[in-house]
């Protein structure tokens, strides 16, 4: 009485190959020694939990480690984040978070921004599944806030 794979093929935009790859083999999951930012983010509604650790050097992300558990979207998104932020300044991270928000909401994202996002563009399909947008944004928003706060406290 159900349609089998034909129904699931409609999810391909949500679960692109890059997303599934990051979900299965998340990047930068090694805990960071004496991190400058040590942050737990969670979405109790979904049961997503991530532990984000950053080493910040000269206003830029020197090292990142993200571990946690959650759905494929939140895990892949956290892994993509971990891959992107290494070496980025806080402003660059902030700009990337801003463009990913717009990407997920279906708003305009420039070609230059897409170049910066790279593989992260694969998250674009999430916008057709609005209840899953917060899964994709969870780690980004948490890290952006923590970074801003950390640098603000340092007076950078």
């Amino acid at each position: 009485m159900t349609g089998g794979m034909s129904g699931l093929d409609d999810m391909n935009e949500l679960y692109e190959a890059i997303i599934l790859d990051h979900y299965r083999s998340p990047r930068n999951t090694v805990p960071v020694d004496s991190p400058d930012i040590d942050l737990e983010v969670n979405n109790p509604f979904c049961g997503d939990e991530f532990h984000i650790q950053l080493k910040v050097d000269d206003g830029a992300v020197a090292k990142v480690g993200i571990t946690g558990r959650g759905c494929a979207i939140s895990q892949a998104s956290a892994s993509l984040l971990a891959e992107l932020v290494e070496g980025k300044s806080s402003n660059e991270v902030h700009a990337a978070v801003d463009s990913i928000r717009r990407l997920l909401k279906g708003e305009d994202v420039t070609e230059e921004e897409r170049d910066v996002l790279g593989d992260i563009e694969a998250l674009e399909g999430v916008r057709k599944f609005p209840v899953r947008i917060k899964c994709a944004l969870l780690s980004w928003v948490g890290l952006d806030d923590a970074l801003t706060e950390h640098l603000g406290a340092e007076g950078v």
């Binding site: 794979m5 999810m11 109790p44 509604f45 979904c46 049961g47 558990r69 759905c71 895990q75």
Partner: protein, 417 residues
């Protein structure tokens, strides 16, 4: 066996399904399999018709007018109260108070009875398997009154651990608040035993019956429940209306919950006196249409017979449990013996997160619940942050359970591609 339990209509699932217009809907191009009944049930056309009939034929305010419509609306509203009271075998109809939902019923007791009767040094006993709505009001009250909040634990088998009940319930226990059936584990709790224990120390018992009243014959006298709370929307009725049952003498001694029209007897510029039960607890124009439609929902269930409803769900639960447990990568939370539980099955897949499973099943037309099920501490105690939950009702079938099992396998295939 009473009429309530036996029923007057044959339990014919095809005929039942024909009463539910929503079941002919397609979801993502697939036939709808609705397994989120513990969240809310679907509504038969008899209940929907009761709503439209009321608004088209009877609409007026209650307890006020002398005109025909007002009299008919009042009669319909009070007849529905009589029906729900009888449904749970309450001795008197005025012991059934209309509220917005189970949560409001619980809050009413916390804000009135408990506010007066629970004090410093006393304790309130709840269980580890309560819904947030039967935890948070008591946490708040305990903080306000400097009262201890105690928990009866849930064992790994998903059953309530009552081994230390005689030390947890003691002479300072004023209230035991317990779910009749867990909305996560499906576990049916020993309410009558707990009632006996707390009555022996002079306390009262409140039963969160949101998950039991829709599915089994519940008798407040047999349970010796002092308070019992449930919602209409989980038992074929509309949203926005629930019931608080309370023993007459307790309700009579309680202060009002809210103040306003209908709940007063006499008002002067300085003061007011309270109306009789049940109106003392029903301030303002009540939810007349939904009360009447709840009466229609009760009629529907009584016609089927609650023993038949229960037997159908037990059969589905036993079948589903067998099928789900046969899957390699899935474990079930709560008791595995269907006799100890209702038709609420929460399960965890080893590799697929509940949210991904929920999206994938939705693509196949199958509606399940995913997440913490408003019982965060309990779900976490099983060392998971979320679970998937399938819950059954009168219109569900074994072939729908087959569709769920197939849907899980298809999802496994998809994520291992």
């Amino acid at each position: 066996m009473s009429m309530t339990e036996a029923g007057t209509r044959a339990f014919d699932v095809d005929a039942i399904r024909a009463d539910f217009p929503i079941l002919s809907r397609k979801i993502n191009g697939q036939e709808l399999v609705y397994f989120d009944n513990a969240a809310t049930s679907q509504k038969p056309k008899q209940v929907i018709k009761a709503l439209t009939d009321y608004y088209e034929q009877t609409n007026a305010n209650v307890h006020r007018g002398v005109h025909t419509l007002s009299i008919e609306a009042t009669d319909g509203y009070e007849l529905a109260r009589t029906k729900v009271a009888k449904f749970i075998n309450a001795p008197r109809p005025e012991e059934a108070i209309w509220t917005r939902n189970t949560s409001e019923s619980l809050n009413l007791v916390a804000a009135t009875w408990a506010d007066v009767n629970v004090g410093e040094g006393d304790n309130i006993v709840i269980t580890a398997m309560e819904h947030h709505s039967n935890i948070v009001p008591w946490q708040q009250l305990a903080a306000k009154k400097n009262t201890e909040l105690r928990y009866l634990a849930a064992g790994e088998d998903g059953l309530l651990d009552v081994s230390d009940v005689d030390s947890i319930i003691d002479s300072r226990t004023k209230l035991v608040a317990v779910t009749h059936m867990s909305n996560v584990l499906g576990t049916i709790n020993p309410v009558a035993m707990l009632a006996e224990k707390v009555h022996a120390v002079g306390g009262v018992i409140l039963v969160d019956a949101a998950q039991s009243v829709p599915h089994m014959a519940v008798d407040v006298q047999e349970l010796d429940a002092d308070f019992l709370c449930f919602s209409a929307h989980k038992m074929l009725g509309p949203t926005g209306i629930g019931v608080l049952y309370g023993k007459y003498d307790l309700l009579e001694a309680m202060p009002p919950f809210m103040f306003g029209g209908d709940m007063i007897l006499e008002v002067t510029y300085e003061d007011a006196t309270w109306n009789d039960l049940p109106y003392k607890f029903e301030a303002g124009t009540p939810n007349i249409a939904d009360a009447i439609a709840t009466g229609a929902a009760v009629d529907y269930l009584v016609d089927l017979g609650m023993d038949n409803v229960w037997a159908h769900e037990q059969e589905l639960t036993a079948y589903a449990m067998e099928q789900i447990l046969s899957l390699d990568n899935v474990r079930v939370l709560g008791p595995q013996d269907p006799a100890l539980r209702g038709g609420v099955i929460s399960f965890i897949h080893d590799t697929i997160h509940p949210h991904d499973l929920g999206t994938a099943l939705d693509q196949q037309g199958i509606a399940i619940r995913t997440g913490h099920h408003c019982a965060m501490p309990l779900v976490r105690s099983f060392d998971v942050v979320a679970a998937a939950r399938a819950s059954f009702y009168i219109y569900n079938t074994k072939s729908e359970i087959d569709a769920l099992i197939n849907g899980i396998s298809e999802t496994e295939g998809y994520f291992s591609r």
